[in-house]
């Protein structure tokens, strides 16, 4: 945490411009004003120094220690010009914050007037303004990062980042039989994963619906549960719902819309209308059902990307 914090501060110091951390409203004083005026100005504005301006030209800088010098010598009536520092170190508003930090820290300056390309005073930096700006920047960049992470996180780049002759991503979900409390959970997680992978909403919906129907079939009809495997390849997505029992007696019959063997309590929940496989067939490109009584069932559902090819995958495709 500490290491990260330091790195972040260093990064900000190098990348931030003086312009963004300076205080833009500079309190200034004329060279002909008295040191008593300077003392009053610093006291009322709660500052410890001010640039001395003749017209719009910086002619010096006067600080609290100059005021103390004048007081000790009983010269508060003397003009600012007599006590000010004439050699003024300024910094360009375009300079990196690094330059200002170097002058303030190593060179012992307490404040640096900030000038534009014409040498005109546009602001002032002190250690105080820099610390305030850094705190603000860190807070903003932290919030920005969080927002980005939450809203725009996409995993689609894995197809671009990982090279092979045929890359595919496999999502494996275990589905327990008769576990109604969690039925549909795998579908919901798969839907989110596909969104993160950058697939377009219409395809995500089709896959989610098919996976959900398949998942409900595993929950309702199997006695040992099963597995849902989603394989995402360059050009297609294949969903397989596999279980080891009890198998289907008559394949032709279960493919009839409206045919169902679901018990009443399942129907009362709004399922078991015999439309599951019909729905799956309708929203997929190809579907194949293999089963043997006593051995188990395997349902393979394929979605060919075609027009649904997402932006990210399209880019990946072009590359290869």
């Amino acid at each position: 945490m500490t290491v990260q914090g330091i790195t972040k501060v260093q990064e900000l110091i190098y990348t931030t411009k003086v312009e963004t951390v300076m205080a833009p409203n500079v309190v200034v004083i004329g060279p002909d004003r008295s040191m008593a005026d300077a003392r009053e100005l610093m006291r009322s504005k709660r500052i410890t120094g001010a640039p001395v301006l003749a017209g719009d030209r910086i002619v010096g800088i006067v600080s609290m220690s100059d005021v103390i010098d004048a007081m000790e010598q009983g010269q508060l009536i003397a003009p600012v010009a007599a006590y000010m520092t004439e050699q003024v170190r300024t910094v360009s508003k375009e300079a990196s914050l690094m330059e200002a930090v170097h002058d303030l820290g190593r060179q012992g300056y307490s404040r640096l007037p900030v000038v534009d390309e014409d040498g005109k005073l546009v602001g002032i930096v002190t250690t105080g303004t820099i610390i305030r700006a850094l705190l603000r920047e860190m807070d903003v960049s932290f919030q920005k990062k969080e927002a980005e992470r939450l809203q725009t996180y996409r995993a689609s780049h894995i197809f671009e980042d990982i090279a092979s002759d045929d890359t595919s991503v496999i999502l494996r979900h275990i589905v327990d039989d008769k576990d109604f409390a969690n039925a549909g959970k795998a579908s919901s997680v798969i839907k989110k994963s596909l969104q993160r992978l950058g697939f377009l909403p219409p395809l995500v919906r089709r896959v989610a619906v098919a996976v959900y129907e398949a998942e409900m079939n595993l929950v309702i009809h199997t006695d040992v549960g099963g597995e849902i495997i989603v394989e995402i390849r360059q050009d297609r997505l294949i969903v397989s719902a596999v279980d080891h029992g009890p198998g289907i007696e008559n394949l032709q019959q279960v493919l009839q819309p409206g045919y169902s063997t679901a018990p009443k309590w399942i129907r009362d929940m709004g399922f078991g209308a015999g439309m599951g496989l019909t729905n799956i067939k309708r929203c997929s490109d190809t579907m194949s059902l293999l089963s043997e009584p006593g051995a188990g069932t395997r349902l393979d559902i394929a979605f060919v990307f075609g027009e649904y090819l997402s932006g990210a995958k399209r880019r990946a495709g072009k590359k290869s």
Binding site: G184, S187, R205, M269, A273, M275, R282
Partner: protein
């Protein structure tokens, strides 16, 4: 139609609020058969249903349904409300029957999906 209008027209009670009430819902539909919901459900739609079990929420989530209207003033069980909170679906309930809830919304201008084709990839 705004969610707030749906609430007003149905004199509904908001049970789980996951959307701003000034957000728009494009279409409406009604079913007690979850497979039907999956077959005709459209992104963002309002679903009228008499079912209250947690699977309704799952189904809505998968089908992209934004608002569920539970008809005949049924109160869903805790698990359903909890799941809705997590999955980002808004639930309201109304004292009207399914028929009347649909009728009132349709009359007020919330469209359905027209004729749904049951053949081919009509998505």
């Amino acid at each position: 139609m705004k969610i707030q209008e749906v609430v007003d027209i149905l004199a509904a009670r908001i049970l789980v609020e996951n959307h701003g009430l000034d957000e728009e819902v494009p279409t409406g539909g009604a079913a007690d058969l979850m497979s039907d919901v999956l077959a005709f459900g459209a992104e963002g739609m309002v679903l009228m249903t008499g079912l209250t079990n947690p699977q309704v929420i799952r189904t809505a989530e998968v089908a992209g349904i934004r608002v569920i209207v539970i008809v005949r003033d049924k109160t869903p069980p805790r698990e359903t409300l909890k799941l809705a909170l997590e999955s980002g679906v808004t639930i309201i309930n109304t004292g009207y029957t399914m028929y009347e809830a649909c009728g009132r919304l349709f009359k007020a201008g919330l469209p359905g999906l027209g004729q749904v084709k049951m053949r081919g990839n009509s998505w």
